[in-house]
């Protein structure tokens, strides 16, 4: 059954392109005639702060009035450009939420003042979620093994390839050319 509303959280650290891919997803949805609700949380930080964006794409719903808040536990797709940030929003997901996560850890700025005792977030993610694509996308970019030059866009292509959102690689290309 096609879900009537697809709930997506895109998260990461300021500067990794979280807002850019949120915009691309939103524009792809709107250009296909879907309604899209959502909100962006930029926080107060200028650099290295958590940032996330909630998107709700309405595929098939008669009334078309929905809130911009994703119901707790109802996230369908989580795209995270950093694994700690993926774990931060785990409580918004359920065990079958599809994950697309960059495995490269960005240390916490607070590390330098106070050492937190935390274990590896990637292991945690693999343990909690059934459907996950956790790869070192940063490395793929660095090695130029990919034709896409940006981490965020590469991850969005990956999410589209899995077939979880009703868009094609061509849709992404179209939107990027309009940026």
């Amino acid at each position: 059954m096609i879900k009537s509303v697809i709930n997506i959280i895109v998260c990461g650290i300021g500067g990794q392109g979280v807002l850019t891919i949120s915009n691309i997803i939103r524009k792809m949805a709107l250009s296909k005639g879907f309604k899209c609700e959502g909100a962006t949380f930029k926080g107060g930080a200028q650099r290295m702060g958590s940032i996330h964006s909630e998107l709700r794409i309405i595929i098939n719903k008669t009334s078309k009035v929905i809130s911009s808040q994703i119901p707790i536990g109802d996230v369908d797709l989580l795209i995270a450009t950093e694994p700690w940030e993926a774990l931060r929003y785990a409580n918004r997901c359920h065990s079958k939420t599809q994950l697309v996560v960059n495995s490269k850890i960005e240390t916490f700025y607070v590390d330098r003042f106070e050492k937190p005792k935390i274990k590896n977030p990637v292991d945690n993610l693999r343990k909690i979620f059934i459907n996950h694509v956790i790869e070192d996308f940063s490395k793929q970019i660095a090695n130029q093994s990919s034709t896409h030059s940006h981490l965020n866009v590469l991850m969005l292509y990956k999410a589209v390839k899995i077939g979880f959102i009703p868009f094609t690689e061509k849709d992404i290309k179209n939107q990027i050319s309009q940026l």
């Binding site: 962006t40 926080g43 930080a45 702060g49 809130s67 911009s68 536990g73 916490f108 700025y109 937190p116």
Partner: protein, 614 residues
């Protein structure tokens, strides 16, 4: 007014399209569509993007709008009133905390009334998503006695901006629109259209002492007129949405963002037959007739809204004796934070005894350290706070913090609460404390907002205080709006003229000189101002630009003494710890580094060197 025709009915259309906009932009388009003539604002999230976007529309379509880039909300409010008194349509934009500053004039603009439509956009922030607090500014509204719209969607942000101008002119009263943070940055594709302005429009101020001079009996008379006006609006104006089963025994009233939350839950749980939903789009004054009609045959009315329960309070106040059913709301929902879908859902589950079997089970909450962020690489505040901390390290000194980038994470100052809290709180402390040295800090933005007056207050009261103005040349945090210091502002002349005799110029990129001068001034008396130069690295810092592609720094691990001065005390985000145990090894991430050279300046072991790029 004939020269501000309704875009919906006019045929001189110059632009009409369906475009993707966020709510900030939608308000700009709405104002342009209403042919606004005058715009004043003080920047503040979540409505910081309205004015910049309106400028773009103005340039693109030659809308001939006059802009007032106000230095605080008080003057923004008054200048918009002035334009409106002359017949111009005026728009003024501020955030909720800014409304506190503008509250003084707003309390009396209702007395004078307006001529051209005057619309006030206020960004609210339930959940404090981009502010120092989440105060509920609804309580100002019955005090000002201005009609209030609360849009529930991006399209409504556009529509109600136009409606607000019309309502304002119909009743000669300013009209407010509240936009919460969650809605302000939401996007949607909306229909916009612009009509041609009438060229060479002349405005005129009709002198009218009865209206504009308010004191004693005149003020009381105008207050009476205002109350009568609002009473008339509450009868004649009705803007709301009536949904679902009108014959239901349970009625729910919402406003703003709670509408879509409740609407969605009603559909998700198939409660369409059990609930009659009323959303108030015109939230103040409430239309008593609408509420009474809605309450007919109801057993109960539940008001679901965020913050303090303004609508519930208004309904109880105005309809208490005329409604027989039970009215409640806030007793079931918290008055703090955002109203979450979860809270409303749990309420519905209990109330309607709903089955929750097919809900997804969420993963339990994990404790992840906060990632609050830091100053940008090469940010002038990094060097300034390094110098301050170095001097204050053993002195137990107090650092007064203001609003702006300098007070944001990593929280180097000792408090963060409101504009000019640095210079204000520090004065009281300086007068009371004997042993702890006190300084105050603040950016150039807050200095011009009202900090300069607070400084004059310190001079006036002979207070011994050092105040540091971090002059980064713009209102950096909200998007680099213009600051007077960018232009030909002579701070020496200005400060001398208000009685500050000791004005010390320092650069945030020269910590040795900064620390030396700071130590020297610390033991002196009177008001001393450090004018700290260092432009924002994200808006053309000439010092950084001259070095960025020419130099690069390097850490020599053999010389590094692991003192952590660069990594912790300076806290530059471009310096990374490779964590090669047992000895830490620091490295500079050259992709992040902007070549400010501060690490090189402060390294006591000469381990950081600066090289020329080959």
């Amino acid at each position: 007014m004939d020269n501000n025709s309704n875009p919906k009915t006019n045929n001189k259309m110059i632009f009409s399209k369906n475009i993707v906009l966020n709510s900030n932009e939608a308000i700009s388009w709405g104002a342009a569509a209403a042919n606004v003539n005058f715009v004043s604002h003080y920047p503040g999230s979540p409505v910081n993007l309205v004015e910049p976007h309106l400028r773009k529309i103005n340039n693109r379509f030659n809308k001939n709008i006059e802009f007032n880039n106000s230095l605080n909300e008080h003057v923004a409010a008054l200048s918009a009133a002035g334009a409106s008194y002359c017949g111009a349509r005026s728009l003024t934009i501020m955030k909720h905390v800014g409304l506190n500053i503008a509250a003084d004039p707003f309390n009396y603009l209702g007395y004078t009334g307006v001529k051209g439509g005057m619309v006030i956009i206020v960004g609210t922030d339930p959940g404090a998503l981009s502010s120092t607090g989440e105060e509920d500014v609804h309580w100002f509204v019955p005090q000002f006695n201005f009609p209030l719209f609360e849009p529930t969607s991006v399209q409504e942000c556009y529509d109600y901006t136009i409606n607000a101008f019309e309502l304002s002119e119909r009743h000669q009263i300013p009209v407010m629109i509240f936009v919460p943070g969650r809605l302000a940055y939401n996007h949607s594709s909306i229909n916009v259209s612009l009509v041609k302005n009438k060229l060479n429009k002349k405005f005129y101020f009709n002198k009218d002492r009865d209206k504009y001079i308010n004191v004693g009996a005149r003020a009381v008379k105008n207050h009476r007129i205002l109350i009568e006006k609002v009473k008339k609006i509450s009868v004649s104006e009705s803007v709301n949405k009536n949904k679902f089963n009108q014959k239901s025994k349970t009625g729910i009233i919402t406003r703003g963002l709670s509408y879509s939350v409740v609407y969605e839950l009603i559909e998700d749980y198939n409660l369409q037959n059990k609930i009659h939903l009323l959303n108030l789009d015109l939230v103040y004054p409430i239309n008593q007739k609408d509420i009474l009609k809605f309450s007919k045959e109801k057993d109960e009315i539940i008001v679901i809204e965020d913050q303090d329960g303004f609508v519930e309070n208004q309904i109880k106040m105005h309809c208490f004796n005329d409604i027989n059913c039970k009215i409640y709301g806030k007793s079931n929902f918290p008055a703090y934070g955002e109203l979450s879908r979860k809270q409303v859902e749990n309420f519905f589950i209990n109330k309607f005894n709903l089955s929750i079997d097919n809900r997804n089970i969420s993963i339990e909450n994990l404790e992840i350290p906060e990632r609050l962020g830091t100053f940008c690489e090469g940010c002038p505040h990094t060097g300034s706070f390094y110098s301050i901390d170095t001097v204050f390290k053993d002195l137990d000194g107090v650092v007064g913090g203001d609003i702006g980038c300098s007070s944001l994470p990593p929280f180097r100052a000792d408090w963060l609460l409101c504009m000019n809290a640095g210079i204000g709180i520090s004065q009281g402390m300086a007068q009371i404390l004997d042993d702890q040295p006190v300084i105050s800090t603040g950016g150039d933005g807050s200095f011009f907002h009202a900090g300069a007056l607070s400084l004059l207050n310190a001079v006036h009261n002979n207070i011994n205080l050092i105040h540091m103005v971090f002059d980064n040349g713009s209102i950096a945090m909200t998007g680099h709006q213009e600051s007077p210091s960018e232009k030909n502002f002579d701070h020496h002349q200005f400060l001398n003229s208000i009685g500050v005799n000791r004005v010390i110029d320092v650069s945030s990129y020269d910590p040795k000189d900064f620390i030396e001068k700071f130590n020297y001034e610390l033991v002196r008396d009177g008001v001393r101002v450090f004018w700290v130069k260092g432009a924002c690295v994200r808006s053309g810092n000439a010092f950084i630009e001259s070095r960025r592609n020419v130099l690069y720094p390097e850490i020599d691990p053999s010389k590094c003494g692991s003192c952590n001065k660069c990594y912790v005390e300076l806290g530059c985000p471009a310096i990374l710890n490779l964590e090669k145990y047992p000895k830490q090894e620091l490295k500079i991430d050259l992709d992040r580094c902007v070549r400010c050279g501060l690490c090189n300046e402060i390294c006591p072991n000469d381990a950081i060197s600066i090289h020329n790029m080959v």
